[in-house]
């Protein structure tokens, strides 16, 4: 029983990170129809910003804030410089643009910093576990679950209550008509990118807290997972991206925990097979609506 709850907490924590990343991907996709390959590099950027901030003796809290701010600003800058000029071009052009942005960032990280991992020491108080109703729960897991929950709640309030939030949901459904409401197209797209950057930044911090180091390709694997989560949840659905992130993490964590040792090398393949089976049963995704499939 105890191990079950332990794994449950692990899955929630990992799922939160996937969910934040997937939500960022889905936000940009829903507004622009673009899968942003450079999304993972925003995470990596957070890592390097934290690395340098700590190196400069700024301390962990400030490093976290700076790391997240960097990812947010970089996402907005990316939209302004790279994606806005090709916004009206076809999907393939935008995809190639995002690949180019991603490649350029990799090169910069490798050549200006290093191809080797850089350590980001996790403060000692974060390493331990706390007692929650008789169960030892890792401080990092607890913080990561709390941060994810707070961020998801804040975002859902923003999307439901604020004019800009409603406009973003409207733009996902019908961009030209959203402009007919007097909503500035650039503001909607910039907000989508800014929020995706913020989410990638927070996910980056959570990821780093688990791994303790940053390297040029840090963002690749988690964003690949996030992409699977987006498709699993239903491409274009924000709620779907979040659900997809958690479902994927639960599959991964429980396979890792309960698969016989001999099977462990195949756990990624088994995970993907399960995802494919889910998609065969529900091609529109877990949450996506059939008519929303583009």
């Amino acid at each position: 029983m105890e191990i079950l709850i332990q794994q449950f907490v692990n899955a929630l924590s990992l799922g939160g990170t996937y969910a934040l990343l997937a939500l960022g991907l889905a936000m940009v996709f829903s507004v622009l129809g673009l899968i942003n390959f450079a999304h993972g590099d925003l995470m990596t950027l957070t890592g390097y910003a934290m690395f340098f901030a700590i190196g400069a003796g700024l301390g962990m809290p400030l490093a976290v804030v700076l790391g997240i701010a960097c990812a947010t600003l970089a996402a907005v800058a990316m939209e302004r410089v790279a994606f806005r000029p090709v916004r009206d071009a076809n999907t393939a052009t935008m995809l190639l643009t995002s690949l180019a942005v991603s490649t350029i960032l990799h090169m910069l990280f490798q050549n200006l910093i290093s191809a080797r991992p850089r350590a980001i020491p996790v403060p000692s108080w974060m390493i331990g576990a706390v007692d929650v109703g008789g169960l030892a729960i890792g401080v990092i897991q607890l913080m990561s679950i709390t941060a994810t929950a707070l961020l998801l709640i804040a975002l859902s309030i923003f999307l439901r209550r604020s004019t800009l939030g409603i406009a973003m949901r409207a733009a996902a459904l019908d961009f030209p008509v959203t402009r007919l409401m007097g909503i500035n197209a650039n503001a909607v797209v910039a907000t989508a990118f800014g929020l995706s950057g913020l989410l990638a930044g927070v996910a980056g911090v959570l990821w780093l807290a688990q791994r303790g180091s940053v390297d040029p390709l840090m963002g690749f694997l988690p964003v690949l997972k996030a992409f699977i989560a987006v498709v699993l949840g239903g491409l274009g659905s924000l709620a779907g991206a979040v659900v997809g992130g958690f479902v994927l993490a639960f599959i991964e964590v429980f396979l890792r925990a309960f698969l016989p040792d001999g099977w462990l090398p195949f756990r990624e393949s088994i995970t993907l097979t399960l995802v494919i089976v889910l998609l065969l049963v529900r091609p529109e995704g877990l949450i996506g609506q059939r008519e929303n499939v583009r």
């Binding site: 406009a167 459904l173 030209p176 008509v177 959203t178 402009r179 409401m181 007097g182 197209a185």
Partner: protein, 242 residues
């Protein structure tokens, strides 16, 4: 070039092209404050292209678009809405996965002061009581007629100086169409200025003050609604496609 304050909207020499297709070939019209002007024409005559071009939704090749004397040709749709002209698009295009309330809220997004939007909203819900009943329902679950009312109310939420309506009768049962047209006439009584695109010639000319007939991207006929209705020229202009 001063056209006087009486022309709220003044379009001249409008040309719209989609690649090799010339959809609008030098069309123009005027709408005075407080008028309903009908823009008629057969399928593919270019009515939607005309509206979309003056709203900035599709690029115009050339032409003059004066809103209250200021040239707005080529501006972005959101800028034009903020200047006081809005479009209720063909096919209603309500935000299906947003509630009626949210659809109306975003329609009033340009009313900066919350008080303004609330006053306008109260007015709209009085005029379209069915929307008040369906306030928390997803717009996509409304009937076609209700969706059309929502689309019109949503457009009116920006308190426009002039509203362009693109085929509000499209795909609706005759009884519903009558209701919608009564509502459009009522909007005029409350001071709205309307450019109404329609295929339903008789109904449109019945509530309009003046009318234009578009054929193959040109104005083939123009005049007071009563004269157009009586003359039978409209049908001839409809046929006269080249």
């Amino acid at each position: 070039m001063n056209n006087g304050p009486e022309h709220l909207l003044d379009v001249a020499g409008l040309e719209v092209r989609y690649g090799a297709i010339e959809a609008i070939r030098g069309a123009g019209l005027e709408v005075c404050k407080g008028e309903i002007v009908a823009l008629l024409g057969a399928n593919g005559a270019g009515k939607s292209s005309f509206l979309n071009a003056i709203m900035g939704l599709v690029p115009l090749t050339s032409g003059r678009v004066l809103l209250d004397g200021e040239d707005i040709a080529g501006e972005a749709p959101e800028a034009i809405v903020r200047r006081g002209m809005t479009l209720c698009p063909e096919g209603r295009r309500v935000f299906a996965n947003l509630t009626v309330r949210e659809n109306l809220a975003i329609g009033g997004a340009t009313r900066r002061r919350a008080g303004d939007a609330a006053t306008i909203l109260t007015g709209m819900l009085d005029r379209f009581p069915v929307l008040a009943e369906r306030h928390d329902q997803m717009a996509g679950t409304l009937s076609g007629g209700e969706q059309q009312m929502l689309a019109i109310a949503r457009a009116m939420m920006s308190a426009p100086r002039i509203v362009l309506l693109d085929e509000p009768s499209l795909g609706l049962a005759p009884r519903i169409v009558d209701t919608i047209f009564e509502m459009i006439a009522a909007l005029q009584h409350h001071g709205a200025t309307i450019l109404l695109v329609e295929q339903n010639v008789d109904l449109a000319l019945d509530i309009a003050d003046r009318g234009y007939v578009l054929a193959s991207g040109r104005v083939a006929l123009a005049g007071p609604a009563s004269e157009l209705l009586a003359s039978g020229d409209v049908e001839r202009a409809y046929m006269g496609r080249d």
